[in-house]
């Protein structure tokens, strides 16, 4: 212990020479008494996926709207109920819960506390609850564009995708992607193959969790061996494994590309900038901000927020560095498809699409 203390003191020597501040009370801005809270699922707020995006969205409102923010991380599924209870006791006006696993716990607390408001990300209830607003995404729409884009840029005629765990919020990406490729084949009379997902059978390749990057790498190498040159991993951080495998292939002289999901990978996974074709984005932060703002202004409703191409809730990210590799003709086609989907002329259907 003494040793630790000395070491600590020695470290402080280097930095501890500043002058003490004079006692001045910095008047803090009136924080208001609105509190927005968030409970993560077991992924935690650093999951580089929906927990993180939602958390960042809420953190942004702390500054922009001057509200108080309270957050609590769940380590296991057992923490959901205690965490939600604690949030209610802590006086949260709006509590945001992340993921379908929190569905039951949110419902229970919402029913027990009808005067409190809740919002749940990526989950909708069969029977709407008066004080819970679902925030859900028709991700298949944006993934459809990604599939079309992949089919239009592949050199080998084979593209691939894989998921983390087989849950609707993951398979919806894969459905849209496969359909996008299919649509391209129909329009162009081509035969681009999709590896890793069979929409009809609703079955494909899954790494089994959102953690093991080496599995993502292994899956991607297998896809490359089978002739794929564009891979879309729908597996949160496991996508980095795919990125690593693709970078190696690129270093070996292959022309390969990566499609990121959830956020714009060019910004959030800059290691793979040079192979990042595009990203299927779910604008969760923005949605959270909107919902918090509405609730603060007293305009809370339990109508689900559904992110679509029409309201920019889901998007295809810019091509950034690989812009030159996407033919102008393909870009116009993508714009047209986007418009058609937004207008409802072109229907993208997935078993996992929001029912609302």
């Amino acid at each position: 212990m003494a040793g630790v203390a000395t070491a600590g003191a020695a470290a402080l020597m280097l930095t501890g020479c500043g002058a003490a501040p004079t006692a001045s009370s910095t008047a803090s801005a009136s924080a208001g008494n609105y509190t927005g809270c968030i409970v993560s699922d077991s992924g935690g707020f650093d999951d580089q996926s929906f927990n993180q995006s939602s958390y960042e969205g809420l953190k942004k409102t702390e500054k922009d709207l001057g509200i108080k923010v309270n957050q609590v991380e769940s380590k296991t599924n057992n923490d959901f109920e205690p965490n939600l209870r604690a949030m209610v006791t802590a006086g949260c006006n709006l509590t945001i819960t992340v993921g379908f696993l929190l569905g039951d716990a949110t419902k229970a607390q919402a029913t027990a506390n009808p005067d409190k408001h809740f919002a749940i990300i990526d989950f909708g209830y069969d029977k709407p609850i008066a004080n819970v607003k679902p925030i859900i995404y028709d991700t298949a729409q944006a993934a459809f564009l990604a599939g079309y884009l992949a089919a239009g840029t592949t050199m080998t005629g084979t593209v691939a995708t894989f998921g983390g765990i087989k849950i609707p919020t993951v398979t919806i990406f894969m459905d849209g992607y496969a359909d996008g490729v299919k649509y391209y084949n129909e329009k162009k009379g081509k035969n681009v193959k999709v590896l890793g997902w069979d929409k009809a059978k609703q079955d494909g390749s899954f790494t089994g969790d959102f953690e093991k990057q080496d599995k993502g790498k292994q899956f991607t190498q297998n896809f490359l061996d089978q002739g794929a040159d564009i891979v879309m991993p729908v597996a949160g951080p496991v996508g980095k494994g795919a990125g690593a495998a693709l970078k190696e292939a690129k270093a070996a002289g292959k022309d390969v590309k990566l499609i990121w999901v959830d956020s714009d990978g060019f910004l959030t996974a800059p290691d793979y900038k040079d192979i990042m074709l595009s990203s299927v984005m779910k604008q969760m932060g923005e949605a959270v901000e909107t919902v918090v703002k509405e609730d603060k202004d007293g305009k809370f409703t339990n109508t689900p927020y559904v992110g679509t191409l029409a309201n920019d809730g889901v998007q295809l990210a810019p091509f950034h560095d690989l812009d030159s590799q996407v033919p102008a003709e393909l870009k116009t086609e993508l714009d047209q498809i986007k418009k058609d989907i937004a207008d409802g002329k072109l229907k993208v259907e997935s078993a996992a699409s929001p029912k609302a």
Partner: protein, 471 residues
């Protein structure tokens, strides 16, 4: 029998050294004598004791006794699991102190005042003190007593929450502890909880039975599920000699992937949904909340107390418990004394699995009320720590379960009130394990390392611990 014994004695430390004690020569003819007597319980007891007693002359170190025997439990592991309770307490204390320093090091006020440490050191130290104490006060308020609660019910709500979270930890911890007393390192509580959870929840949501009967069946299904899953490990170990550590680890994986597979089949999903989450259990299939609906505390806690009493009884008062301990102390000697070691191995694993199964039931029928792939959380692994901290004694495990339950319950408040990351609790838990595994380190920190005089004392208590296993 005697033939297998002789080389072992020959393998003991230099005869030149032991010869001085003169105990060895008399002991050798003694042993076969006792062995030939028929092994009724009473004689088994004496035969074992004299076998241990024959070596008593303390020329042979305790570690040598169990360490040399092939197939005997690892003596280091044994020491770690059954060392003195004082080390446990000190380890917890030390872990909390280090945890406090860690909290302080991430605190903003602390880092701000560290910038002018030499200009006004008092600021820095008071910031460190307040950061650590604030977190721990929040931890206490979240786990035992919250003075700001409304009425006595609200004030003691945290304590009820602690008991709730402790429930699965206690029963799973008992399973690990019991197996360890029989010399088996059962890492499989996780898988046993999962298998129990699968069976119990299926009975809970798929069958629709009358009140009372339904819950009973859920409990039985879970306990049997856990017992079979662990009993299978015991069976494989007893029949093939496969190592239980490897078996239980692999069985954990099998259970987890089996669970994931099931959750992807419509039979385990809610009608009309494809999320991997089971339907909610029938109201008739869940544990009643024993102190009213405002607390989550459920019948499972009473059962956990009953399980603790049961394990205490088994270990200290029953014949089979004596056999477990005898096998744990020295399987070869136990075999020699006429104990059916394979049977004891299978049985102890089955009971351990049944106890872990109770945790699975507490999860699906007590708190979660659904089956997800996180049904076992990390309880199966925390249970090892709990058993470790509890020194593999029933009530020690019970107390350790309560402590860990308090950590988990309090962590929520700590995170909300002070923004201290929940991970700090995991760090404290891990530090506890670390310190328990290194008793000399803990003693050194607190200046308790035995010097010449104390060494005798320590030795005595150690011998007592191994020879008088009944303690």
């Amino acid at each position: 029998m005697t033939e297998t014994n002789r080389p072992r004695h020959a393998a003991e430390p230099d005869p030149a050294k032991t010869a001085g004690t003169a105990a060895q020569p008399t002991a050798t003819p003694n042993t076969p004598d006792v062995e030939t007597t028929d092994a009724t319980d009473a004689t088994t007891a004496t035969s074992l004791d004299t076998a241990g007693g024959a070596m008593r002359p303390s020329a042979v170190p305790v570690s040598g006794q169990s360490g040399i025997v092939p197939g005997g439990p690892d003596s280091l592991m044994r020491k770690i699991f059954t060392g003195s309770g004082m080390v446990s307490v000190l380890a917890v204390l030390l872990a909390l102190i280090l945890g406090g320093l860690l909290i302080a090091s991430t605190d903003k006020a602390v880092s701000a005042s560290a910038g002018y440490l030499f200009a006004r050191p008092s600021d820095f130290f008071s910031a460190v003190w307040s950061a650590a104490t604030r977190s721990y006060v929040a931890l206490f308020q979240g786990s035992v007593f919250n003075p700001r609660g409304t009425g006595a019910a609200g004030q003691f709500a945290p304590l009820m929450e602690t008991l709730t979270i402790a429930t699965p930890l206690i029963t799973a911890g008992l399973g690990v502890a019991l197996a360890f007393r029989a010399g088996l390192f059962n890492i499989g509580a996780q898988g046993q909880i999962i298998m129990a959870g699968i069976l119990a929840s299926w009975v809970g949501f798929a069958l629709h039975l009358p009140m009372g009967l339904h819950l009973l069946l859920v409990l039985v299904a879970g306990v049997v599920g856990g017992a079979l899953w662990a009993g299978l490990v015991g069976f494989l170990k007893a029949r093939t000699g496969a190592h239980e550590v490897i078996l239980t680890i692999m069985f954990n994986y099998i259970a987890l992937y089996f669970l994931r597979y099931l959750l992807n089949t419509p039979a385990f999903q809610r009608p009309g949904e494809t999320n991997p989450i089971s339907p909610i259990l029938d109201p008739s299939a869940v544990y009643p909340q024993i102190l009213g609906t405002q607390y989550r505390l459920h019948l499972g806690f009473i059962l956990a107390i009953a399980a603790t009493v049961f394990v205490w009884w088994v270990l200290n008062r029953s014949t089979i418990g004596f056999e477990f301990r005898a096998v744990g102390a020295n399987p070869k000697a136990a075999l020699t004394a006429g104990i059916n070691v394979p049977r004891a191995t299978i049985l102890v694993m089955a009971i351990a699995g049944a106890l872990a199964g109770m945790s699975g039931v507490a999860q699906v029928a007590g708190t979660e009320k659904v089956l997800t792939d996180g049904v076992a959380a990390t309880y199966g692994f925390d249970a090892i720590t709990v058993a470790l901290l509890g020194r593999s004694t029933p009530w020690g495990t019970f107390a350790a379960g309560l402590l860990f339950g308090a950590f988990r319950a309090g962590a929520v408040q700590m995170q909300i009130q002070t923004g201290t990351p929940i991970d700090i609790v995991l760090v404290v838990q891990s530090l506890i394990v670390l310190f328990i595994a290194a008793p000399p380190l803990v003693r050194a920190v607190f200046g308790l390392n035995p010097r010449k005089k104390k060494a005798v004392k320590a030795n005595k208590s150690k011998t007592a611990a191994t020879t008088g296993v009944a303690a």
